[in-house]
């Protein structure tokens, strides 16, 4: 029984959960009365990289019980990590949960995560995009130091665009300064 296969099973389970959880925020872009001239995604730059597309759909799972053990590793483990104002330092209380994500990712080399960074509403929007990314990269750095290959991790920033708390006070701002770990 290979660890890889276990990992893939666990990833499928998590992906399904995430898809269910995210169904209301799924992409639903509507360019009203517009003709989209294809995605002329291009650049002369050689380091261009498209986003990961899910390559997990055709995985064959052969050991349900053992897979459950692997998935258990992340049961109840935090997937949201908070930051201080204008800071991107990983807080001490995040370490235990991040260590478990790291262990899982190392045991499951085919697993992929997206670290989604967010900022609170104060400050300008594009600067907050950069700040959200800095936070996501701080989490990424923490994971890669634990030994997770960088290729398993993608960072994306949403800046202040997707708050989870809607007040205009310290408690809301605290909840919005975060990085969410999303398994793809």
């Amino acid at each position: 029984m290979s660890v890889t296969k276990l990992g893939k099973f666990a990833v499928i389970g998590l992906s399904a959960a995430w898809l269910a959880g995210c169904s209301t925020t799924a992409s639903d872009s509507d360019t009203s009365a517009m003709q989209t001239e294809g995605a002329e995604t291009s650049s002369t730059d050689s380091t261009y990289a498209a986003g990961e597309d899910g390559s997990l759909n055709s995985v064959i799972v052969d050991d349900q019980a053992a897979a459950q053990t692997s998935a258990d590793l992340l049961a109840g483990v935090a997937t949201v990590f908070y930051f201080d104002f204008d800071k991107s330092v990983v807080r001490p209380e995040a370490r235990e949960a991040l260590a478990k994500h790291a262990q899982f990712l190392m045991e499951n080399p085919s697993a992929r995560i997206v670290l989604e960074g967010h900022a609170d509403e104060r400050g300008t929007r594009e600067y907050n995009m950069a700040l959200g990314e800095r936070r996501a990269k701080a989490i990424m750095r923490y994971l890669t130091i634990q030994g997770v290959p960088a290729a398993q991790i993608e960072t994306v920033s949403f800046g202040e665009e997707v708050p989870v708390a809607f007040g205009h006070d310290n408690s809301s701002w605290q909840l919005n300064r975060r990085v969410e770990v999303r398994y793809e």
Partner: protein, 432 residues
């Protein structure tokens, strides 16, 4: 004299868009005490069928919020002349009007109306400029009114009017946890809003090309940001970038050939330029700090941008040719998202002082800084193409609204929306 070409052009810009529900409404919140008194007399009309718009009323509202004029209320007018021959100057001296605008509308019978107007100086009892006439379709009455406002403004201030311009902005409507984001375009007075793009994922950073024909913006798709450009007349949309990490803050170069933008594909946020025709990408900054929010100088020789390379975010200037960087702002805890006035004289930033974010104006010649706004969480300042006013986004009772302040800080008005958050205004250039 016919001016149909102007209106045809404006209408062409609208074809691809669809009407939006919520219109922005103007509320004037503060005015200057040194305003030029002008009476905009209701235009004469003897036709049987009602007119589509009150042209004089629109001109009155334009001039009233311009920061230059104070209009005489209609209710106070002693007479309602529609041509200079019928004006009794004594009536207007009594009302302390320095200028009077009179006009009339006649049905041409071919689906158009002839709108004639004259601007009169009460002191000299003479016409300012010529008597002008426009042939206007019913659907272009608002355009005709803004055109007249532009003419009056220019005649009396020597500065080109910006009433015929438009604004881009983003709204977030519906539930707060899963809103619908809409990129919209409207007249500069908030009327005639139309949705350009609608999405369940965030849209931000709209920006105009210098000729006003194209726009650029950031839109998320599948939870990742990309930069798009779009032709307003045809709706033709192109995805320009989809790099790993940030794809943000697109800003059109003055000659229209390039976008300055922010990418983090080489690790941290850096300013790049992208040649739109050749897709050639050029890295402009190289620093481990955050470099973002690029904006071109009017002559295209420099790019101003935000960087926290000095510890706190401040504004820097990048020489496009040499790539040398120099710091521009020194006052305030931080300065972000700078824009220059079209003459390059003033720099508008979002400045933080004592925890508050306000729009500040820095004189590039003297270095003097003035904080222009006193609202809450002010951001995204955008300058009118004549340099007279700054539109920005602010928060009022937990709701995002647009607000406008004159560059001297004296005149302020707001454009709240009936529903949803409004944010990120981008004031268009002139269209001709």
């Amino acid at each position: 004299m016919k001016r149909n070409i102007v209106f045809a052009l404006l209408v062409a810009c609208l074809v691809a868009a669809i009407p939006a529900r919520a219109q922005l409404v103007i509320e004037i919140t503060s005015g200057s005490d040194q305003l030029l008194p002008i009476a905009v007399v209701p235009f004469g009309y003897s036709g049987a069928s009602p007119l589509p718009e009150d042209i004089a009323g629109i001109v009155d509202a334009d001039l009233q919020r311009s920061g230059v004029f104070e209009t005489i209320p209609r209710a106070n007018m002693l007479s309602l002349p529609s041509t200079s021959e019928n004006v009794f100057y004594r009536d207007w001296r009594l009302l302390k009007a320095d200028y009077v605008l009179v006009g009339n509308v006649a049905n041409n019978g071919n689906g158009t109306y002839r709108v004639s107007y004259e601007l009169l100086n009460v002191l000299t009892q003479a016409r300012v400029g010529k008597r002008e006439a426009l042939d206007v379709k019913p659907s272009n009455f608002r355009d005709a009114a803004h055109f007249i406002s532009d003419k009056v403004y220019e005649q009396l201030t020597g500065i080109r009017g910006a009433f015929s311009t438009r604004i881009l902005y983003v709204t977030a409507e519906g539930s707060k946890s899963a809103p619908t984001y809409k990129l919209q375009v409207a007249d500069a007075d908030g009327y005639r809003p139309q949705v350009i793009v609608s999405s369940k994922e965030p849209i931000l950073s709209p920006s105009w090309s210098r000729d006003g024909r194209k726009i650029a913006y950031v839109m998320f798709r599948n939870r990742r940001p990309s930069i798009f450009i779009q032709e307003l007349a045809t709706g033709k949309q192109q995805q320009l970038t989809q790099f790993r990490g940030l794809n943000g803050a697109p800003a059109w170069s003055p000659d229209g050939s390039k976008l300055a933008l922010v990418l983090s594909k080489d690790n941290n946020p850096e300013i790049y330029t992208l040649d739109i025709a050749t897709r050639q990408l050029e890295r402009m900054t190289n620093h481990y700090s955050i470099d973002t929010e690029p904006s071109w100088e009017p002559d295209g020789k420099g790019i101003i941008f935000t960087s926290d390379r000095g510890g706190n975010p401040q504004i820097y200037r990048l020489d496009v040719r040499t790539k040398n960087v120099e710091r521009v702002t020194f006052e305030g805890e931080l300065n972000t998202r700078a824009r220059l006035t079209p003459d390059g004289r003033y720099l508008v930033t979002v400045q933080k002082n004592d925890g508050n974010y306000h729009v500040a104006l820095q004189d590039m010649n003297t270095g003097r800084v003035q904080v222009l706004t006193e609202t809450y969480l002010d951001e995204s300042p955008s300058i009118a193409p004549n340099g007279s006013m700054v539109m920005y986004a602010t928060s009022d009772k937990g709701k995002g609204i647009l607000s406008v302040v004159s560059v001297d800080g004296l005149v302020k008005y707001r454009l709240p929306s009936a529903d949803g958050d409004v944010r990120e205004p981008a004031w268009s250039p002139y269209f001709n």
